[in-house]
């Protein structure tokens, strides 16, 4: 069964303290791994799509990487405005639906 597990569930960092969020997946034929940011009560905001192992993408303080079994979202020198829930999702070979992890709640203290 296709599955996405994110860790940790919650992460509190000091401003400027770099860290990584993990997304482990089991899927029958990966057809895309997606990272989203979600603020409370709002819809997810698209960040990155990764398609194959070894691929990396960057945007401001965020960098996403992909291996055959997991993806990491690295956050460098975070600021309080980076506080949000970060969601990981995968699409399988049938492409019939996208499966989301439960997210990591990131809190950055000034």
């Amino acid at each position: 069964e296709d599955q996405v597990t994110q860790s940790p569930e919650a992460l509190r960092l000091q401003e400027g303290e770099s860290s990584s969020l993990n997304c482990s997946y089991t899927v029958s034929g990966l057809r895309g791994l997606f990272w989203y940011r979600q603020d409370p009560g709002k819809g997810p905001e698209f960040l990155f799509t990764l398609y194959s192992a070894g691929e990396e993408k960057e945007k401001e303080r965020l960098k996403a990487t992909l291996t055959k079994k997991e993806s990491f979202l690295h956050i460098t020198a975070p600021k309080p405005e980076d506080s949000a829930t970060y969601l990981c999702a995968v699409r399988n070979s049938s492409a019939s639906k996208i499966i989301f992890g439960s997210g990591t709640r990131l809190s950055i203290r000034p």
Binding site: F34, Y36, G41, T49, R91, A95, K97, F100
Partner: protein, 114 residues
């Protein structure tokens, strides 16, 4: 470029009533997806429409239904509302529904069932 829009932003209903939620995809997108996000839970896939046809549905009872119109906008209907239907309902769109396409989300409709 306008993003995915949803209406209403908030909806309050009582048990047993029906709710109708609406979604307009990004211009040029033909695929629309619906998700339920209950408080403290992850996004659960509800329905996928493409070119006016239902392509797939998640593990939800038949009282969750919808349709897609010729202009690709979509409607989600929830009949016989139950308390546990209270959630944020999110709509997303993608270009054609093809493999690997990114889904872009709207702001959601917050449904409260009393």
């Amino acid at each position: 470029e306008a993003g995915v829009t949803q209406s209403p932003t908030h909806l309050i209903k009582t048990r047993g009533q029906q709710a109708t939620l609406r979604c307009s995809p990004i211009s040029g997108h033909t695929s629309v997806y619906w998700y339920q996000q209950a408080l403290g839970l992850g996004l659960q896939f509800l329905l996928w429409y493409d070119e006016g046809e239902e392509r797939n549905r998640g593990n939800f009872p038949p009282r969750f239904s919808g349709r897609q119109f010729p202009n690709y906008s979509s409607e989600l209907n929830v009949n016989a509302l139950e308390l546990e239907d209270s959630a944020l309902y999110l709509c997303a769109s993608s270009l054609t529904g093809g493999v690997g396409e990114t889904q872009y989300f709207g702001p959601g409709t917050r449904l409260l069932v009393l």
